[in-house]
């Protein structure tokens, strides 16, 4: 019997249709060829091929935009949003419009020509996490921005570029994105009636049931969510409650790097190097607005959502917000748990 499950946070129903289940190896990914390593603009020595760097991890004596770096952040050459200008909110009859103000940055995660974050050392992933924190903290100073979205598109099908060099993106937006708002509202609603964080409750229940846990190491847990939208969807959550990703302490950054590497390696090994996306879900900038953010410190809980891109998503799923997942999260967790990394 297929099961209908409700996402406890935002209330979305999902069909878990095991009758339609496919074996994991039926989901193999495909790739188109990108430029050769010699033509990669993100490798060390090619600094002049990107816009000037905004941030870099490099020894003090090396000049900006020259070799010697371990990690760089540059503006996108094709930004969706621009940094200069005013928002100029206005209406046009029924419709509301504002200028596309924002920031769009590319994090070049390594000076080596390595495509998948899964193949970077834990220490390097820890540096990428620190870079996200530094950049988000810096962008928060610009009062026009409400949110910074940190995400990664790996592989062509996942919306990534054909250049096989590990990178992620940061987009600062002048409005709170819809999905984030829904999550915040859902968490707040739960807190109002239970006076507990829904994510903390989720972690407790997942550890107790132990059917959807993929990894549980140190301060972090990786689970296949109860109402997964996609086969092998994976969330990484800190066990210790915190609404804001940027407050993560140094030891935890290493632990998160370690967890992220292990999960990504499991996906790579178990699913034949699939394209994937991950998105950081963290609290919006909490600027003073009376009473507005009263409980967010207690009710919201940052986390990372990873989605391997194995199936074609039909348009109706976008149109209706209604997903049919052909693999139960229990089976997905069992499979990924069994992959040795």
């Amino acid at each position: 019997m297929p099961e209908l499950r409700k996402d406890p946070i935002i209330g979305r129903w999902v069909i878990i249709s095991t009758e339609r289940a496919k074996r994991p190896n039926q989901f193999a990914g495909q790739y188109k060829e990108g430029p050769a390593e010699a033509d990669c603009p993100f490798c060390e020595g090619k600094e002049s091929q990107t816009p000037p760097e905004i941030y870099a991890l490099r020894p003090k004596h090396t000049p900006a935009n020259k070799p010697g770096w371990e990690l760089r952040v540059v503006p996108s050459i094709a930004p969706f949003l621009r940094i200069e200008g005013n928002l100029d909110r206005r209406g046009m009859g029924l419709y509301d419009v504002t200028n596309g103000i924002g920031a769009h940055e590319i994090v070049i995660e390594t000076n080596q020509h390595i495509a998948n974050m899964a193949d970077l050392p834990e220490e390097q992933i820890e540096k990428i996490i620190t870079c996200y924190i530094d950049r988000i903290t810096d962008l928060e100073k610009d009062s026009r921005f409400k949110y910074v979205l940190a995400f990664k598109n790996y592989g062509w099908i996942a919306g990534g570029s054909r250049i096989k060099h590990a990178k992620s993106q940061l987009i600062a937006t002048p409005v709170n994105p819809k999905r984030v708002k829904e999550e915040l509202e859902g968490a707040k609603f739960y807190y109002e009636s239970h006076e507990r964080c829904i994510f903390c409750d989720l972690i407790r229940q997942e550890i107790e049931e132990d059917r959807r846990v993929i990894l549980d190491i140190d301060g972090f847990i990786a689970v296949a969510p109860f109402a997964s939208r996609f086969p092998f969807e994976t969330w990484i959550l800190p066990k210790k409650h915190a609404c804001d990703f940027t407050t993560l302490d140094m030891p935890s950054r290493f632990e998160l790097g370690n967890m992220l590497k292990k999960v990504l390696l499991k996906l790579k090994k178990g699913l034949n190097d699939p394209p994937y996306n991950y998105v950081l879900h963290t609290a919006p900038f909490r600027r003073k607005k009376s009473g507005y953010w009263k409980t967010i410190d207690y009710d919201y809980h940052w986390h990372i959502e990873i989605i391997p891109r194995l199936t074609h998503v039909a348009g109706f799923e976008w149109g209706t917000g209604f997903y049919i997942c052909s693999l139960s999260p229990e089976d997905a967790a069992k499979f990924l748990k069994g992959i040795e990394v």
């Binding site: 979305r12 509301d96 998105v279």
Partner: protein, 332 residues
Amino acid sequence: MSELRRDPIGGRWVIVDTDHPNIPQDYEYQHHTLHGRENCPFCYGNESMTPLEIDSIRESGGSTNTPGWQVRVVPNKFPALQIEGELARRGRGIYDMQNGIGAHEVLLETPYHEKDIPDLTNQEVESFLSMYARRTRELEKDKRFKYIMVFKNYGFAAGASIGHPHSQIIALPMVPKNVKEEIRGAHSYFEYRERCLFCDIIRQELQDKQRIITENEYFISFCPYVSRFAFELWIMPKNHSACFCRIAAAELPALAAILKETVSRMKKLFVNVSYNFIIHTSPINGDMDLEDYHWHIEFMPKLTRIAGFEWGSGFYIVSTPPEDAAKFLREQ
């Protein structure tokens, strides 16, 4: 400067790239191919390869599950939901679930494997549209169902698993999230203004003109001001009506004509493009609100890859402004 536009219905913000808009030639998309023609279970003469038919249109006679049909409805061989059983709503800790009760039917629009909507006559398009309405009215009688979703995935890139043109009908025991939001948005607009939001959209679009692709006596076809996808388009009845399945007899030929014209224009611009469309209609059996909701068809060609940004944020980036998209489609 690109624009951020806010959807007046659900309140979603979308980035519209008015700076460097893409032209149709910029899109690199996966072409739909007709492979899978041999042993296609949806082709004429292969009726025994599907589960037993639920309904069909057979103007020239012929008994069920044999050739002679123009439109045929069969249960999905791999249904996402099952018709028999109880809902058995239950909870476990913080989680809620229920049995996957529902109906999942496949509607074969034509016996011909290679004929998509532009290749059919207006009369043939009207036939399968009338079958959409007939099946919906029939499924509505089951009180367990709260929503009937009619949609089409055409082409593998759009999620179809069989190349033969077909639509699907899913009856659900609850209202899907986006529909609920749409209804909530329409309801609060109505409460404030005592007018239907969608009727107001039609009025404004007819006045602005720049996003309209085509119109006839009963329908308009336009690219919505807040598109989520490049070349997204909506077909909307001009007369206020909440339920698709109550469509008036006089409106049906007009709907067939505008759907055929719109899809033809799209497929001329993007040869062999895969696409989806969904009929957005009012919920049934209790949750209906006839005054403030307005049924319509949302159509999306599959031109872009959807990236992590959209997943995580619900924030879409549209690389061709709807004004440009409508112009390209008008010029076909």
